[in-house]
């Protein structure tokens, strides 16, 4: 039963959003039918879904969109339950790594508490705590988040040192194109390139133009092909989801498998 409900809800939801995007804003209807449907013009159908020329398929789109957003937000609640099931149990039974779980749960509870309390009163103590210390541009969370992301700079440097080695023709091509693109976008690169090739046959060539040529000509074609692949794969995945073809594993218990 549960499986059927989910199947039909997903199918109807999918087909609604597809048609809403594809159909014209108003679907033409004969004037006589339109007048009959409108009646005295006060009914919900007349007010929201009937225009001057015909039927407005997306007449309730704003409400349906809000409903979808609200359903999506419910995932937050699911996330909370999952965290409590995994880390709460680990903490309660003092299993290995319980200290980290305690930190996670404490952080989550403090953020929820301060987040709820600060609503409507940004000037309150908790409002300031949330707005400045936790989430402010110079606050705890953005600082930690920036620090995590900035680690990439160090990993990229060591990865480049280890990976960009001329061990084959392809590797050499990759390395030289990467070098040219890098040099073409940094001030030192332009100065460096100009200084080296000032007197040679390449004196009229700019590293900026070389970089642009690589990005516009070589890169665009390759990336379009990748994007097309993504698109087709996405379409296939969306179709599977729309037809609930991937939900077998969720219902194994129900089916007694």
């Amino acid at each position: 039963m549960r499986k059927r409900v989910i199947f039909w809800m997903t199918f109807i939801g999918g087909i609604y959003f597809f048609l809403e995007f594809m159909l014209p804003a108003e679907i033409w209807l004969p004037q006589s039918l339109l007048t009959w449907l409108k009646g005295d013009g006060t009914g919900p159908l007349a007010r929201n879904m009937l225009g001057d020329k015909g039927f407005i398929f997306g007449g309730l789109h704003e409400d349906i969109s809000n409903g979808a957003i609200i359903t999506g937000v419910m995932a937050l609640g699911l996330g909370l339950i999952n965290i409590m099931r995994l880390h709460g149990v680990r903490l309660a039974k003092l299993r290995k790594g319980w200290v980290h779980s305690a930190g996670l749960i404490a952080g989550m509870l403090i953020t929820i508490f301060v987040g709820f309390w600060h609503w409507g009163s940004p000037e309150s103590v908790t409002g300031k705590l949330y707005g400045n210390i936790i989430m402010g541009t110079r606050g705890l969370f953005p600082g930690l988040s920036s620090a995590m992301f900035s680690l990439l700079a160090f990993y990229v440097a060591t990865a480049a040192y280890r990976a960009f080695r001329i061990k084959s023709g392809e590797a050499a091509l990759l390395m030289f194109s990467a070098l040219l693109v890098m040099l073409g976008q940094i001030p030192h690169g332009v100065v460096f390139f100009d200084a080296i090739f000032r007197h040679g046959p390449l004196r009229d060539v700019s590293i900026i133009d070389i970089r642009m040529w690589i990005l516009k000509k070589l890169n665009v074609g390759a990336f379009r092909a990748i994007s097309l692949g993504f698109g087709v794969a996405g379409l296939a995945m969306a179709t599977r989801m729309w037809l609930s073809m991937g939900m077998g594993s969720f219902f194994q218990d129900e089916e007694g498998k």
Binding site: I69, G136, L144, Y161, Q185, H188, I208, L215, R224
Partner: protein, 312 residues
Amino acid sequence: MGEAREKEFWLLRVDRRWVYLAVAIALAGPLIFRWAMPPAKIGTAEQFFEVAEKIEGGDGKLVLIAMDWGPGTQAENKPQTEMLIRHLMHRRVKFGVISCYVLAEPFLLNLPKNVAADLNEQYEGTGKTWEYGRDWVNLGYRPGWTIMVQGLAKSEDLHDYFKTDANGTDIGEIECMKNVKTIKDMPALGEFTGLVGAVQVWLQFFNRQEHRPTYLHGCTSISIPEAFIYLDSEQIAALQEGVAGAAYYGQLMTEKYVEKGLGKEPEKASSAAVAMTSLSVAHFVIIFFIAIGNFGVLWPRIRRRLGGGTAS
């Protein structure tokens, strides 16, 4: 395996901590000493400046700026967004900031406010002022991504769609929103992000059959290759490429709006130019290590060919 590693030329096994240290010094030096080199000329930034220069302003028009970025990519997206905000404020084009990314919330509030404070200080005594509500509106974080953008584009009454700004003020009471009713009153969209798929959502859904805003996009360096496909197909009118684009855009802004005496005093070295110089030095460190690695690969071969022994 260990034996093979022992035989590796020493240039091939530089400890990663030396690489980390070199990168840290290269990045920190220019940031600490506020060293800014003139940025490299970036053609796309020039195009961005020209497009932003032509955006129509006036009553009943609002440029929407989607700040879909957070602390993780603020090093690149923040100067990009700041430059467009500064440009629009200079041109007196009204704008609204919005985000589909929850971590952007503090930046939605503070970035336009800080730029306005900076301009108010710079133009003090000239009678020119910039203030919230009249020059910009903070529409806040809006959940729902695709559905939100679709709804926004289709809405026949944006006052009803948004209801309030981020501070809880009724949209109808905000001066710059008074005559903005639908997407048709939005001549341009500035979308800044480091997130995969974000720009595609805006490109696909933020338009109508009868109106397609001018799309301006700012991306992080890692997503430049992908952004070029939309620039090439003219789906986006202009692109700011990472912090390099922001740095050059900042220079164009200075040339146009500060050096001609419109501002009271020349602006300090922009944060984008300093960040770019820092990155520039770091790029050279990376190139240096790539060269070392390749020398380590080639040198033993050269020595063997020349009849020498194995390197160690």
